[in-house]
């Protein structure tokens, strides 16, 4: 099977999920209660909204990830041909990783990898 199988798989996932949800809905009509729809917070009333400013630490990691992920994508085609190209491929990737590693050390020195 070719790429058509992806359509089949997406279809299967949607049918499975939607079918399950519809079946559950069919079996259970549910009840109404004023307290039922409240946000869960271990028994106390929730204060404020979580849709707010959030700790920047996560975004720093996301940024560094982005750099390394692009690097990883670049390395896939390299890895496929590395054996054929020979020692030159190793030399080139050492230069490539060295430059990236310098950037990584810079980020580390600046404290981007320190939590809080």
């Amino acid at each position: 099977m070719g790429s058509g199988s992806l359509i089949a798989l997406i279809f299967a996932a949607v049918v499975f999920s939607a079918g399950g949800l519809a079946f559950a809905k069919f079996l259970n009509k549910g009840s109404t209660n004023p307290q039922k729809g409240e946000t869960y917070e271990c028994g106390i009333r929730t204060e404020g909204s979580p849709w707010n400013q959030f700790n920047v630490g996560y975004y720093l990691f996301a940024l560094i990830f982005l750099i390394f992920d692009v690097e990883l994508v670049f390395m896939y085609p390299w890895a496929v041909v590395a054996k054929k190209v020979g020692m030159m491929a190793l030399f080139e990737i050492i230069v490539f990783i060295f430059i990236l590693f310098m950037g990584f050390l810079y980020a580390h020195k600046k404290g981007a990898l320190k939590w809080m």
Binding site: F16, K83, L90
Partner: protein, 358 residues
């Protein structure tokens, strides 16, 4: 010989002789969808039961033992419970994203089945960039998790989702590096080619120490990527009650839960394919007689045996190591695993180019 591959091929020919091309394709697509759904349901039932039994074994308990012989119908009963429960929606959620999130996670898990070689010649889609496809699609599931956490309008959910996002993207890097070190050896991204290259021995034995290091890094990274303990910060029960699926109930929760277990199966299957030769039987160099004896065990048994070995390994981690703190988790990845896996990749490249592997 009597094998699944031959049965599938003759079935395809039989269909082609009776119907026209479009009908055959439509029918086969329906069959694939049916197969995928069956596999999902079966794996969900088996893996949840296995997890409970393994944890019971490790903690010297009995585990589920009431429903059916050895409690094998326990997960069926649990599924029934989840179906009859009301999957209600809190008032303050973002309704569209809240309902969409389980679908995204399920579709991602389902799409990952496509390039898996289940047995000799049994593969839904023999794509030439198989490994790349898996890494690309598996990173989509983080969107579903972030969506669920954000849309729930709950602080626990949002914290769990953000932690999960930071964790999944971080550990993806070292998992990718570990995968790359096998790609360097095989020179192909096609999963069938990778398996074919292990005909005279699996890479974990042929690739010397760098292959073993890559395997250890891969297992650690995928444990983190699937949000399993000791890296289960995304749903740390004692801190965040349920993490990103705190506000989900009933069937919607079941979908998240199922997708999580399917993801474990898929990453273990990929690990088994890359390092343990997938469906390739245990071969040693040119020991003809030994190799021939091993060929008598069907390839699907080899595949599922290796995959379940890795799954049990990951379950074993869960009950052995205590949960990490979020700063320890990110330190482990960025300060240890990533530099080690980079260095390991370079050593592996040297070995591959010089031809020092067996």
């Amino acid at each position: 010989m009597f094998s699944i591959e031959n049965i599938l091929n003759s079935f395809h020919e039989w269909l082609s002789s009776m119907l026209n091309q479009n009908m055959v394709m439509l029918l086969e697509m329906t069959l694939i969808a049916f197969f995928a759904i069956t596999l999902f349901a079966t794996l969900g039932l088996v893996l949840v039961y296995l997890e409970r039994k393994v944890s019971a074994f490790i903690q010297i308990r009995k585990g589920p033992n009431r429903v059916g012989p050895f409690g094998i119908f326990q997960t069926t009963a649990d599924t029934l419970k989840l179906i009859v429960k009301e999957s209600f929606m809190p008032n303050s959620v973002d309704k569209f994203l809240y309902q969409l999130a389980p679908f995204i996670v399920m579709i991602t898990a389902m799409l990952l089945l496509a390039p898996l070689p289940f047995a000799r010649g049994v593969q839904i889609w023999n794509i030439n960039i198989g490994v790349f496809y898996v890494t690309a699609v598996s990173s989509l599931s983080v969107i579903g998790i972030l969506m669920a956490g954000w849309a729930s309008n709950n602080k626990y959910s949002l914290l769990g989702a953000m932690r999960s996002g930071a964790q999944i993207v971080s550990y993806e890097l070292s998992a990718g590096m570990a995968i790359l070190s096998i790609i360097v050896l095989t020179g192909s991204l096609n999963l069938q080619d990778i398996i074919a290259s292990q005909e005279n021995g699996w890479w974990i034995f042929k690739g010397h120490i760098p292959a073993i290091v890559a395997f250890v890094i891969y297992i650690i990274a995928v444990t983190a990527e699937t949000n399993r303990a000791p890296f289960d910060l995304a749903e740390a029960e004692s801190e965040l009650t349920g993490g990103f699926h705190t506000e989900y109930a009933g069937m919607r929760f079941a979908l998240f839960f199922l997708a999580e277990y399917i993801n474990i199966f898929i990453v273990c299957a990929i690990g088994a394919t890359l390092f343990f030769g997938g469906w390739m039987p245990f071969h040693i160099g040119n020991w003809e007689a030994f190799n021939h004896v091993m060929d008598f065990i069907p390839s699907s048994i080899w595949f599922f045996g290796k995959t379940f070995f890795l799954i049990i390994l990951i379950m074993w981690f869960r009950w052995t190591f205590p949960r990490l703190r979020v700063d320890q988790l990110l330190n482990l990845e960025w300060k240890y695993l990533l530099p080690i896996s980079m260095l390991n990749l370079l050593v592996m490249t040297l070995i591959a180019i010089k031809g020092w592997h067996f």
